[in-house]
Amino acid sequence: MSQNHTPDNGTRITRREAMRRGLCGAAGLMLAERLGSHALAAAEPAKAPAKTKAKSVIQIFLWGGMSHNDTWDPKPDSGRDYMGEFMQVIPTNVPGIQLGALFPELAKQADKYSLIRSMTHRNNGHETAAYLMQTGHAPGERLAYPSIGAVFALFKSPGYKGMIPPYVVLTRAQGRFSEEGFLGPKFKPFATGSDPNAPRFEVEGVIARSISDDRQKARRELLGKMNTMGNEMEANPQVAAAENAKKQAYELILGAGRDIFDLSKEKPELRDRYGRHTFGQDCLAARRMVETGVPYVVINYPGGWDTHSNHFTTMRRQCPQLDQGLAMLLQDLQDHRLLESTLVWCCGEFGRGPKVDYQPPWNGGRNHYGNVFSVLVAGGGFKGGHVVGSSDAKAEEVKERPVYPVDLLGSIYQLAGIDSSARLPHPMGFEAHVLPAASEGAKSAGILTEIM
């Protein structure tokens, strides 16, 4: 277990210190503005973190909650009441692992990923479950914890030299329970906006539709002249800080940074293989970002999985895109020799009721279900070709080896070299750690050593 810290493990930081670091320090973490490594020295416990295998993470978040028994944990023997319109299963390239028939592409890649079929937290509220899955902390506590992406931004920024912010979300933020928590606005994800499947991926703030490069440059020069007070007071520390931040912004607007978002630099055939839809191109954009070292990229699935009604139609529409984009992402990461150092995980905040609800108004829908559901993990130190745990015959409860949120997140942190017991800087100096300790009542069955 990684969460065996004591409340006071000799690394206590004072409130003032925490505040300096967390809120008012030189801890500008957007873009290339980085924490000095010294600033974090005291936040990390003395014990050396495990070797870092995952340099970057791509999280594909299926907001709304994707059905598990229609997809990655099919139970063909459970009958039509459970399987509804998706009775068929298909084999994969790993003997013994089967998927729902909507995932032919992922079936060819099963050696690259493992499936957790015993994920559980028993929470059926969207926000609360999403909070649990991305912080590991129980919702309703007095502290609003930062999401895993914000924690990566905090710990990974010192060593990150890229121009793109360390925590990026394609394309829209998922909402407050996936955000910065008490770490403050600097740890918010940078949301790209726009659509990577559009003719031009107009990342908000980086690429402006109507403004040519010449005009950008002319504007910048004009601003230099019109900035009377700024020029008069350039020695003022406030002005210097502003100008420095502005310079970094221009590295993205007019410098090399924006090229990372220029998907036209990829071969058209490759873009086709990802799929000419938003999710497919999200995956391609994510690969381009991790290539330059961005520590944490979230693909917030474009479209929801909250299929209370119209379930089967929605699944028929969305699953093929998920299948195509995700399978190609894994293949492409491997082709670029990035899969070993890039951890990919994909799931919703919960699964969906394994028994189809044929009652009106659902008329064949599936409802929220947190008792058991599935997660796909790949790369970054996770072994491929395995199944962790299992659900019962009808996919209603965990049968073997429950996996709790702290187990999943703890595994990801460990592979990324982040100590789950490290203290987080809280503005009021409250005791707060990356993941809750067992003593705080967080359920755990241990990190995923079987696939690490």
Partner: protein, 635 residues
């Protein structure tokens, strides 16, 4: 009329610089300085002490050999609008003030006018909203109705210029429904609703002090005063009574889980509409909680859940449950029932036994709210000074402790004395400070003495608060932003024309406000508001589609761009609108020379200087002004 005025301003300011360096009044140079010099920002008149504040501050500056310089009228008009009403002056307001020949009295008159504006109330309710953590949602969980009611009460208190001692006493001692007796929400807007957590919030809010800097026994001793507060739900959704509860009648373990089955209303009153008698005469005219907040009236819990019906109630409700001591703080077991005297310790170390016949909150309020209390008036005047001058006399303003002394003790003592003598009249205090020449100094630093900043040798540069900045951009362009609260359902939307400074509830927000560091209203610390520049803010201002659309389509700008006036007149209008001042000749020329057509790849100097300007040129000129330090920063 206007052109001579510009020359006059520039000339006078140039003279001031000359006077400052050579100490002789130079004759006006015929040619204006080629580069716009700081003199548009400074006044030629050497500052004489206008009141006692100045006598104290200037004496200190003189001992450091610092010669202070006053700001110009143009700087003053912008500064005073932003500081007093959080709102930009219009072009006309700025122009009229600058041209007003009554130089002796016009600044004072403007201060008086602004203190009576509606925006003054909005802006200061926003400031207090940060300190008092007025937020419906996570993590303080006031819930929408109560957040609206609380804000409404703060706003009314400011509008009535309620004496500060009374304002605080109402918060400390009121009892009743969170909807009907809004100041009780003080005790609800606290993340950690244990006696210790409440004590910490009281110390921070009203003593400007952080309990973790106190001697060990003091926080615990203070907590005793808040160990008999009861919270009891009613049958109204999210209504809660806060009251003196010496017998801990409300501290049942079921208090939180009671969502499914609310406990019966208070035995004494079958109707929750009758709150327990408010203590200390603090009963305020109960505002209708829905006033202005009709949109946020929460539905019965199930209403919004039609589409999410299936999850068992426990899950959907868990997120929303405001943590009550019983549920969220298992450590804080209900304190023993107070049958006899309870020992407590005042923050100054004085011990007292709390008798069972009096609400201990009143005992504490009696101790706190007296002229002799060393924290009460001090923290208030220090906070106001920090709000207006960007730095506390004790700094940070909410970190008052023995080993953090005031930079100018005489100044702090004087303000305290005036504040108490004036009957805790906040407007009087603002007036006193705003009319001082100390407040009206230039923001150009004229000294490298290390103590200059802490001794208020110049007015410090500060980025506009998120709300003020977006309001300014919207006012200039004639556009608006959408403010919503995604949680809890139903979603809250505000009227399009509501300025951001008037938003009641910290949960109601926009991407802009979040990006530009609006306070999260989680702790009440002043530094929760984050005004340090980060690159993604520049991406937004320089290059986002949102700003570009405002510039291209803003209905206030269009008529300016499309008017058939001379370019120099358009430039002047833009300067007055955006920077609240007239442009210098150099600036007019820069603008006239700019052309998107004639500027291939950075060769900025337009060879032919086209007379006809395109709309894009004006958009870019406007863009450059809203991205200037002068616009983005209070100065």
């Amino acid at each position: 009329m206007k052109t001579p005025m510009i020359v006059a301003v520039v000339f006078l300011a140039a003279a001031a610089v000359a006077a400052a360096s050579v100490a002789t009044a130079a004759e006006a140079p015929a040619a204006v300085a080629p580069v716009a010099s700081p003199n548009v920002f400074e006044s030629p008149t050497p500052p004489a002490p206008a009141n006692q504040i100045d006598r104290i501050v200037f004496a200190k500056l003189s001992s450091l050999k610092i010669q202070p310089v006053l700001c110009s009228d143009a700087v003053f008009v912008r500064r005073i609008y932003l500081d007093v009403i959080g709102t930009l002056p219009t072009a006309k307001e700025a122009g009229d003030f600058i041209q007003d020949p009554n130089t002796a009295g016009k600044r004072q008159a403007l201060i008086d006018r602004l203190l009576e504006r509606d925006e003054f109330v909005d802006y200061w309710a926003m400031k207090w909203g940060d300190v008092l953590r007025i937020k419906a949602e996570f993590p303080v969980n006031l819930w929408p109705n109560a957040a609206q009611a609380y804000h409404h009460w703060v706003r009314e208190s400011i509008a009535a210029n309620k004496p500060y001692d009374q304002f605080v006493r109402e918060m400390l001692t009121s009892s009743g429904s969170n909807f009907r007796v809004p100041p009780v929400n003080f005790y609800r807007a606290i993340q950690n609703r244990t006696p210790e957590g409440i004590a910490a919030a009281v110390a921070l809010t009203f003593m400007g002090s952080r309990v973790d800097s106190w001697p060990k026994d003091r926080p615990q001793g203070l907590a005793a005063f808040f160990s008999q507060i009861g919270y009891k739900p009613t049958r109204e959704w999210k209504e809660e009574h806060v009251f003196w509860d010496p017998l801990h009648s409300s501290a049942t373990p079921a208090a939180d889980g009671a969502k499914a089955a609310p406990p019966p209303p208070p035995a004494s009153a079958a109707k929750p509409a009758t709150p327990p008698p408010a203590a200390g005469g603090a009963k305020t005219a109960p505002p209708t909680p829905a006033a202005g907040g009709a949109k946020t009236t929460p539905p019965p819990p199930v209403a919004g859940g039609a589409k999410t019906t299936p999850p068992p109630p426990a899950a959907g409700g868990a997120k929303a449950a405001p943590p009550t001591p019983a549920a969220a703080e298992p450590v804080a077991a209900p304190p023993p029932v107070a049958t006899g005297p309870v020992p407590a310790i005042f923050p100054d170390g004085k011990k007292i036994l709390l008798l069972p016949n009096r609400d201990p909150r009143e005992v504490f309020a009696d101790w706190l709210i007296t002229p002799k209390n060393p924290w009460f008036a001090r923290s208030a005047v220090n906070r106001v000074w920090w709000w207006l001058l960007g730095r506390g006399i004790i700094h940070e303003p909410d970190d008052i402790r023995d080993d953090n002394p005031p930079s100018n003790p005489e100044l702090l003592a004087y303000l305290e004395k005036e504040f108490v003598a004036g009957g805790y009249d906040l407007k009087k205090l603002y007036r006193l400070i705003l009319n001082s020449n100390t407040y009206q100094l230039s923001s150009m630093p004229h000294s490298t003495v290390p103590q200059a900043e802490a001794q208020f040798a110049s007015y410090p540069l500060r980025r506009l608060d998120a709300e003020v900045l977006i309001d300014a951009v919207n006012k200039i362009t004639g556009t608006s932003d959408l403010y919503t609260s995604p949680i809890p359902e139903p979603f809250t939307y505000l009227p399009r024309d509501l300025p951001a400074i008037a938003i009641a509830d910290g949960s109601i927000t926009s991407p802009f406000l979040a990006l530009f560091g609006r306070s999260a209203r989680a702790t009440g610390l002043e530094n929760e508001r984050e005004n340090k520049p980060i690159p993604s803010q520049w991406l937004y201002m320089l290059n986002s589609s949102t700003i570009q659309i405002k510039l291209e389509q803003g209905p206030r700008l269009k008529p300016i761009f499309e008017s058939k006036r001379k370019p120099a007149e358009i430039v002047e209008e833009l300067y007055l609108t955006i920077l609240s001042r007239y442009p210098t000749p150099e600036e007019v020329k820069n603008a006239e020379d700019y052309s998107t057509v004639a500027a291939p790849s950075g060769a900025g100097k337009a060879a032919k200087a086209p007379i006809m300007k395109r709309r894009e040129d004006w958009i870019d000129i406007t863009w450059s002004l809203i991205n200037s330090i002068e616009f983005l920063y209070r100065h």
